[in-house]
Symmetry: C2
Subunit: 436 residues, 2 copies
């Protein structure tokens, strides 16, 4: 029992850094509770006046499972956050054109018969929203109030940061070939001292970032303590914020050699964006995206002790609002006839990055993928690409099928690899199903 | 210098409990910086990537002055909070009918000539919004982004709790003559064991609640540590939440004898409301008020370690949204033709409480007032009544002048008494000015 607990804890750590340890997690899989046994509707976490005993979720148990199923919908109730304001514009309509997709049958990654509805449950899905040609064809929520609560998106956050950076490159405000210290002098003596902005965007910079969960001197602990993701231990004397921590990281290997997934690159990229624009990430998100797409709800972002946003992992938003965002991306940067991002920027994301370099990632569960400006590109026949975060967060865009899928989940296992093979089959099934 | 700092600290403590120590604060007034010397636009708190040195505001210095001027607009960036959702209804219009009120001249409480504009600045006002017959006649913000940021309202929060409780009494769901343990059995052995709900609502219950800021064994420290308003000291073994703390408080004196202002009564009243309705205070606020009045922005509330809202001090909202709320109250519980609260409930607030009992409060700066269901009633010729919170938060309603004033401020001094005499003169001036 104790070792299972330790494993959950370990898995959550992976949150912070993305997921180079996925194979480890995959290798050591404990007995997992089925989703129907851990529904918030039955568990009644944080209900009662006051909640008592095992109904309480706090900073000590928030990352355990199944408590995590609550935590991912209630981040602001546990930590400081900054608002991403939708403004006062009317809510943009998502025209409903319901299709009965849940019974649509397909074969899972093990060749077994399944359906969209079963896949949705099997993969611990909280919210599933599907647009086809901009119409809302499917929308189902399986975990209490997942329709209205802003859901923690983990590394989906990166794709927003990458998009804003790519737009600034397009506008000539950032030179992707410049070295990072041109924009962030504080990083001159760090791993980023001789790294280009493009290497940061595509995560091909070489930074020493060890994740040894039994060794608190490894960098993953530094990041977790500095960002506030983990409470600082007594007498802690290390960096107290993300921007104090990043300059301590050193180079290891050769920049540009291969793709190695590191959340710290996204934090650096967000830092560059703020230095160049003079604006806080949350304000840019509001002005450039949330106020322009007629979002239903404000979004928000986790912040560290000096207000720096977790630009690689801290965004929280609702599924319908993410669908609006995905539809804007699918439409080449336009939404309701208004240009939001340049077509060339979206095209560049879609075209993807270097598939050879991607192989260095060790992410066998993403076969044939590449990574470009903080987006995952499938390089399949439909030209699909996606944003992805651990515990099962996805914005999947399929241009050929004119489809956007938002899937927000609360897996017991952090790693995207946990359900990715199954979900790849579901993407194909959905692309067929919406064309019915 | 050190004693001035200590005094600021002391003053902030008063936040938690309302203000029975106002006279103390009034007696010992340090040299105060003029408002124009402490404008957020000039101080640049929490700007820069990252903010450094004295630009940083954190849980250690958030209650100091002038840092407090930032803190009151950015509560969620420092502590956990729960959302009060506006929903997806269109924003209700506040028809603009601007009047040039700022030059309107009157005599201040010392008989000196002044103007509305000067009073606004003199009293460290962040936001001032005035409605006349439901029209927006005046709106001015003097402290960076005070128009869009949710401002901490301190004890204005109580008036929302009181209103919801009064409505439940009206509907027969709460018996105001019942003893508190009928609804909250947890309080059977506390000061509230033999106290009626009405005594809680009007703060005439007798509870031992000492505020000795040099003695951490007094109850004010218990409240501050339990609610999360102050960080718990090392090895702290006391109550860890508001509802763990309240049952420890004991009776002192006779219930019903006189009005003694205690924030803990508001927390008990909120507890009763949640027990009776089965709903969290934030959800009630959303369903009964925020979703019904076409608010522009979500509001939010500070919560303790188990999600219990600070029902006596933790609400944060924008000035324009509070003006909408005030207009609904002025209109006898209706808004845009829709009934929100019963006319009888609003009438009962307006009629006020026992003015003789009020004299026990020691609040000489509120001459002739009474307190009813967590509202302050002026008993003046215009029938005015108001919600009020420390550091200068006010929703002032003048039925005769058909006027609602929302004033959000960030005084260096916590106590309402700091500017109240001056503000009473301003209320009269405004009532004349809007009739021009």
């Amino acid at each position: 029992m104790h070792s299972v607990k330790a494993l959950w804890k370990l898995m959550f750590f992976v949150v912070a850094v993305g997921l180079s340890t996925t194979s480890l997690i995959h290798a050591e899989q404990p007995q997992l509770p089925a989703p129907e046994n851990v529904r918030l509707d039955d568990l009644n976490f944080m209900t009662g006046f006051p909640p008592v005993g095992d109904k309480i979720i706090n900073t000590q148990n928030k990352t355990k499972y199944p408590q995590l199923r609550w935590t991912l919908q209630h981040t602001r109730e546990l930590v400081p956050t900054r608002n991403i304001r939708r403004g006062t514009a009317p809510v943009s309509k998502l025209p409903a054109a319901p299709l009965d997709l849940s019974a649509f049958a397909f074969q899972d990654d093990k060749g077994q018969p399944t359906t969209i509805g079963k896949w949705q449950k099997d993969t611990y899905t909280d919210a599933l929203v599907i647009l086809h040609k901009g119409n809302l064809v499917y929308e189902q929520y399986l975990n209490r109030e997942a329709d209205r609560n802003q859901h923690l998106l983990f590394s989906v956050t990166k794709s927003f940061t990458g998009l804003m950076a790519a737009q600034l490159v397009h506008e000539g405000k950032i030179d992707e070939n410049a070295l990072v210290p041109r924009y962030v002098p504080e990083l001159a003596n760090s791993a980023w001292g001789d790294m280009t902005v493009r290497q940061v965007m595509d995560m091909t910079g070489a930074v020493k970032f060890r994740e040894v969960y039994t060794d608190p001197t490894t960098e993953i602990f530094g990041y977790s303590f500095a960002s506030g993701m983990l409470p600082q231990p007594p007498n802690y004397a290390g960096p107290k914020s993300i921007y104090e921590f990043l300059p301590t990281l050193q180079k290891e290997g050769e920049h540009g050699a291969g793709f190695i997934y590191r959340t710290v690159h996204s934090e650096v990229l967000g830092w560059i964006v703020s230095k160049v624009t003079g604006k806080h990430w949350a304000d840019l998100m509001s002005e450039q995206i949330w106020q322009k797409l007629g979002m239903e709800e404000d979004a928000y972002v986790m912040i560290d002790s000096v207000g720096t946003p977790l630009q690689g992992a801290g965004l929280c938003a609702t599924a319908r609002d993410l669908a609006r965002f995905g539809e804007m991306i699918r439409s080449g940067g336009e939404f309701n006839g208004q240009r939001i991002f340049a077509q060339a920027v979206i095209d560049d994301l879609r075209n993807g990055g270097d598939r050879e370099k991607f192989k260095a990632s060790g992410m066998a569960f993403r076969p044939g993928y590449s990574y470009r400006s903080q987006w995952w590109v499938l390089h399949n026949a439909d030209g699909a690409f996606e944003a992805s975060g651990i515990h099962g967060q996805m914005i999947h865009i399929n241009p050929a099928a004119q489809m956007v899928v938002v899937k927000l989940s609360s897996h017991p296992v952090a790693g995207a690899g946990f359900t990715h093979a199954y979900t790849l089959k579901a993407w194909d099934a959905l692309a067929k199903a919406v064309k019915q």
